[in-house]
């Protein structure tokens, strides 16, 4: 028995509890990305490629620093560069955000996934895709509030950042954290990361970033990848980071109430038919009907 499969708190398309004898007694984990310390060197992208053995296709320059242009099945993390002219200070600010899976406490991908065990959430908070169970329907993309999962053109499976669940399982930090040269990415228990973030936010505020704050959106139950933002009041400045992400109401309806209601409606319709047959009975044609029909057919016109 692989031990890492005994600490699953949520499993896609599964209605009974998954194996979860092992808990996260040392606390849930989190990655903290301090955007104010990021220099945009993309070492995290390279470390991700190296550890996970990913090689994206060499693309084309699309006129900005984002390279590759988007997340893909081979690029699980991506620096997104936004130029922002601050109207208050008149400064041009380069807001660089390391994009990737946010590891939501309430993951929309897992809620939407129809394949048992293709998406799991571990006790430590990591949301992981098990591609061997993935059927390639893309519902995870429909469910994700952050537009993160990508389907591979090669194998039709969905991929995204694993938060290096394989490294974390043996007590290592994710590859991007290990490589970050400025210490913009840190990793530890969620509580520790929040505390560290509070110190960073206080520091930023003392330096004139009055709206600095932590991005740990409550709409998805909090995330296990958090940002320290200089403009926490305007997260959309950071290449469209959603201000109040939550699982969309349509996905909630589709994957919530509609499932039991639809099965109930179908079962009730079938049961109504059965009970009608038992209670009222079939509508039969007898000899009298045939006689009446014969009389009418023989009637001269």
């Amino acid at each position: 028995m692989a031990l890492q499969s005994l600490d699953i708190v949520r499993r896609s398309a599964t209605t009974t509890p998954p194996p979860q004898a092992r808990g996260a007694h040392a606390g849930q984990v989190a990655k903290l990305i301090d955007v104010s310390k990021c220099i945009g060197c993309k070492a995290c992208q390279i470390a991700c490629m190296e550890w996970n053995d990913l090689r994206d296709e060499i693309g084309h320059c699309s006129g900005h620093y984002d390279n590759p242009a988007d997340l893909s099945d081979q690029s699980w993390t991506l620096m997104r560069f936004a130029e922002y002219e601050n109207p208050d200070s008149g400064n041009l600010e380069w807001l660089i955000r390391k994009d990737g899976c946010m590891h939501c406490a309430d993951p929309g991908c897992l809620k939407a996934c129809p394949s048992p065990g293709a998406i799991v959430q571990y006790a430590n908070g990591i949301v992981d895709f098990h591609e061997e169970n993935c059927i390639g329907c893309g519902y995870c993309i429909t469910g994700c509030p952050f537009n993160v999962p990508r389907i591979s053109r090669k194998d039709g499976k969905a991929y995204k950042c694993t938060l290096c669940s394989d490294r974390v399982a043996v007590g290592l930090e994710p590859a991007c954290v290990k490589t970050c040269p400025t210490g913009a990415i840190t990793f530890g228990s969620k509580d520790d990361m929040k505390q560290h973030a509070a110190e960073r936010v206080a520091d930023l505020k003392s330096r004139g970033f009055a709206q600095a704050g932590l991005y740990d959106p409550s709409g998805v139950g909090g995330t296990h990848v958090m940002y320290v933002l200089h403009h926490a009041d305007q997260p959309q400045l950071y290449s469209g980071l959603p201000e109040k992400p939550r699982i969309s109401a349509a996905v909630g309806l589709w994957k919530g109430a509609s499932k039991p209601l639809a099965l109930l409606a179908i079962a009730a319709t079938a049961l109504a038919g059965f009970l009608h047959y038992i209670g009222i009975g079939p509508n039969e044609t007898d000899e009298r009907d045939e006689d009446a029909a014969r009389r009418e057919l023989e009637k001269p016109s």
Partner: protein, 210 residues
């Protein structure tokens, strides 16, 4: 006494067409339910596993819709609502209780059958359009995420309505004895036509006398 002569209700082509639609429906419903509810995901085994179910489902759906389109060209014109159909619907209690003597005379199709026709048309329209939007392999990339989410909900709702409607359709064939053979062998007895579709029976009788 001689055996009553049988009346032809469906030509072979129509029967084959109907059963192709039925086959498409059953396969689309089973594969769709497998993708819809975890309690039914075992149904994907019928199609060769999850990925095959995902691959096949949209093609099966398109097959059903195309087959139904052909059928609709054939039977659509008999399904226009007449004033007497609304009376028939208002007396649904008599319909359910088998008191046909209280109902207005029915032509080739009764109001319930016409309603079913329109429900199928509406559901298939929604299913095909929303299905294209959520067909990740070929089309989803062309649509904004909001449209994909809405399409997923509409697809589930339309499928539920359609499945319930077909359950009613199947039960009606079990309930009204002598109906099933119209779609299997193509014929009904004159007594059946006289009892359930008297106006149509008289049309047919008129035609035979000429």
């Amino acid at each position: 006494m001689t055996e009553p002569r049988e009346i032809v209700r469906y030509a072979p082509r129509t029967r084959v067409n109907h059963w192709l639609v039925a086959l498409g429906f059953v396969l689309a419903a089973l594969s769709g339910l497998a993708l819809f509810h975890p309690a039914l995901s075992w149904l994907s085994g019928l199609f060769g596993g999850g990925p095959w179910t995902r691959i096949l489902h949209p093609f099966i759906g398109l097959f059903m819709a195309a087959a139904f389109l052909l059928l609709a060209f054939k039977v659509g014109r008999y399904n226009r609502m007449q004033p007497s159909d609304w009376t028939w619907l208002r007396r649904a209690g008599d319909v359910v209780a088998n008191r046909e003597e209280n109902l207005p005379e029915v032509g080739r199709y009764n109001a319930g059958q016409k309603l079913l026709f329109f429900v199928i048309v509406a559901c298939l329209l929604v299913l095909v359009l929303s299905g294209l939007v959520i067909w990740r392999e070929y089309f989803s990339a062309a649509f904004p995420i909001g449209a994909i989410r809405l399409a997923a909900v509409l697809h589930a709702i339309a499928a539920t309505v359609l499945i319930c409607a077909i359950v009613v359709h199947v039960y009606a064939a079990i309930w009204v004895k002598g109906s099933l053979r119209a779609m299997t062998r193509g014929t009904v007895t004159p007594g059946w036509a006289w009892k359930h579709h008297r106006a149509w029976f008289r049309e047919v009788a008129e035609g035979e006398r000429k």
